[in-house]
Symmetry: C2
Subunit: 394 residues, 2 copies
């Protein structure tokens, strides 16, 4: 009998004939959100620098946490005993966890973001000790102890964490490997997907739903095989993962090579991608949700997303903001964007005060949530091209 | 003609015959607060880790900022051009600035707190280059450039910063010097007080009010002279400063030696002191306001003020909180104290996540504001002894 997700739904409400983008409603046990939407990274069970109240004030709909980090600290058993991730971190809205694959196969914290975008040069993953059909063994970045992660344990851990949506365990294939490696890796991830589904079903209580992940690197024929595989299995959603290419054009080819062969009735998540320009490009190809660490990571480095500026951002550490008495963007309707001058935020960064990061984190989240609201309105109105011109500096 | 403070008032509403403590209303152009009260340190124009909204949620009445830090970064001229401290940092309630003396004469950032409490061993202030009747020259901790600070410039800078209440410039006499040095230092601070008043009066527009500072180290005869001096001049308020002794008993003697000779109609501020036990001890001696960096400094080190525990605090990094699913203190009525378990905060510190510091900072501020509310009620009801037994672990 097929896996059922009675407490989940994805209803496509409108597809814009002009742009190709779609509007959906994604229902989870912790609420229904509209898509396209942005999932903010709460890696270690906290969106860095922002309280749950401030997330809500910024009109955040959904966040994610990372299995890899949480299994090491504080451990999935503890999160389960504390009542699950929602209760543990004080977030009562929809939530997603990744499977840990991305981090396990990364070259070290944070650098996989370059690898999936083809920016890394070689493969020298010292924390990954072995990888084979059963799963993988890696060294904890905290204390160096050996940790084994398999499709079964990654599934069980995500069940303990208790997020609404979760990801199958996969090998996040790097960019620089050859097509043969990518093909074998993808095939193993497909077998791992089946093992995840079997393990998931053993404890399935209706509170969670799993996404399959399309792999296949930058090879259209492999992407098609992987997409057809996910469509043929009882995943609730479809994620696009793995190496996405070295250029914007390759990244677009990866999505164009994947989604036409995925189940069109399922929600589509694009793993790890979320600059302003990406939102506009990929909603047109059918992506429903995005996630990326950049809203809070850029904030920690003094950088704010802005509407209609070159490169999408400004850096408040720049001396030109020293006496700029204007707020970041009053249209965001959130205190971080309205109540502080750029001169004050500039001062906070010069003075190494954490409030600067806190303000920019909430601002970046609020402006992305506002962008997603405007994107949804524009898809309904057929005005996505016009909205893109307003937001991106060309 | 005497200096007038038409927009300021201090009304003593009740003095408890049993404890000796008093209840007052302190009126400033930015609002009226009840005393006894706690002034939270926003050293560099930010209370570390807490937004103005979170300060208000924690029922904060009044904060302070530091002249020394702000004159170096971003500079008093810039703060003035940005509309003054209130507007610059987004705080519209009463505010105080210190004169910079405390930091200038300190042995380096933070260590003067030990010096005034007599815990430091020697005097090796490398940043202070010279000190004489005119003022002092010190090296900027930011870029090493030489900065001169005089009674006149410290007054003018505080007028540019624009806080409601501010402090005369004084030499914050260290602990280890002999009585002769302390006496000469105190006498110079008295002459500096007169120069501050003269400079203040030149630009006095009714928006600010100045406190004189009682010096004299641990010597009762000197404290008396200094207190009588402040009472004889047109200061709005009285502050107790300088070396306060090496023990709780010496600190108490300093206050007992000072306040009987101060003007009893003026508000009394105790500079840099603010543990829970200090509040109970010194409101009985007539102190109206306290300030200390510890609420936010302890927060950054994982430490929370708690009611009725040994040592007044708990450290959330301690392993005993790993699975403690209880909140910090639901009676504080603020999200930081109510919405997160100790286990979650423990995790945040183990994971080096800044949200842990943010939560504890708001908690520590909220619990101190609650303590001050309860102290005021207890003074009115004549039940301060009972309240002290509830709060302090004996």
């Amino acid at each position: 009998m097929a896996l059922q997700y009675p407490n989940f739904a994805f209803d496509i409400q409108h597809t814009d004939p002009k742009s190709g983008a779609r509007i959906g409603k994604l229902t989870t046990p912790h609420g229904t959100i509209e898509t396209p939407n942005y999932i903010f990274c709460g890696t270690k069970a906290t969106v860095k620098g922002v309280t749950p109240d401030q997330l809500r004030e910024a009109k955040t709909d959904i966040i994610l946490a990372n299995t890899y980090h949480l299994m090491l600290q504080p451990g999935a058993d503890l999160v389960e005993r504390m009542g699950g991730l929602h209760k543990f971190m004080g977030w009562d809205g929809p939530m997603l966890t990744d499977s840990g694959g991305f981090q396990v196969f990364s070259l070290g914290e944070g650098t996989m973001a370059n690898e999936i975008k083809g920016k890394a040069k070689g493969h020298d993953n010292k924390s990954l000790l072995s990888i084979n059909e059963e799963g993988c063994v890696f060294k904890s970045y905290i204390d160096g102890r050996k940790i084994k992660l398999t499709p079964e344990s990654a599934t069980h851990i995500q069940q303990q964490l208790g997020a609404d949506l979760f990801m199958q365990f996969d090998e996040c294939t790097p960019y620089h490997v050859d097509k043969d490696y990518t093909a074998r890796s993808m095939e193993m991830s497909m077998r791992w997907g089946d093992r995840c589904l079997a393990e998931f079903e053993r404890r399935h209580d209706g509170s969670q739903a799993m996404y399959g992940i399309i792999q296949g690197g930058v090879h259209e024929d492999l992407r098609k095989i992987s997409a057809e595989y996910t469509a043929s299995r009882d995943f609730f959603g479809t994620a696009v993962g793995g190496c996405l290419g070295g250029t914007d054009e390759e990244m677009e080819l990866v999505v164009r090579g994947s989604l036409p062969f995925a189940d069109p009735s399922r929600p589509v998540h694009f793993l790890g991608i979320g600059q302003l320009k990406d939102i506009f490009r990929f909603v047109r190809l059918g992506v429903d949700t995005f996630d990326c660490v950049i809203p809070t990571r850029l904030a920690r480095h003094g950088t704010a997303f802005m509407k209609g500026v070159p490169g999408e951002t400004i850096n408040l550490k720049n001396a030109r903001f020293r006496e700029d008495n204007t707020p970041l963007d009053e249209d965001n309707g959130v205190s971080a964007s309205c109540n502080f001058s750029k001169a004050y935020i500039h001062h906070l960064f010069k003075a190494h005060e954490m409030l600067g990061m806190q303000i920019l984190a909430q601002h970046n989240i609020a402006i992305l949530n506002r962008l997603m609201r405007e994107v949804r309105e524009a898809i309904k109105a057929g005005t996505l091209d016009e909205l893109e011109k307003e937001w991106l500096f060309k």
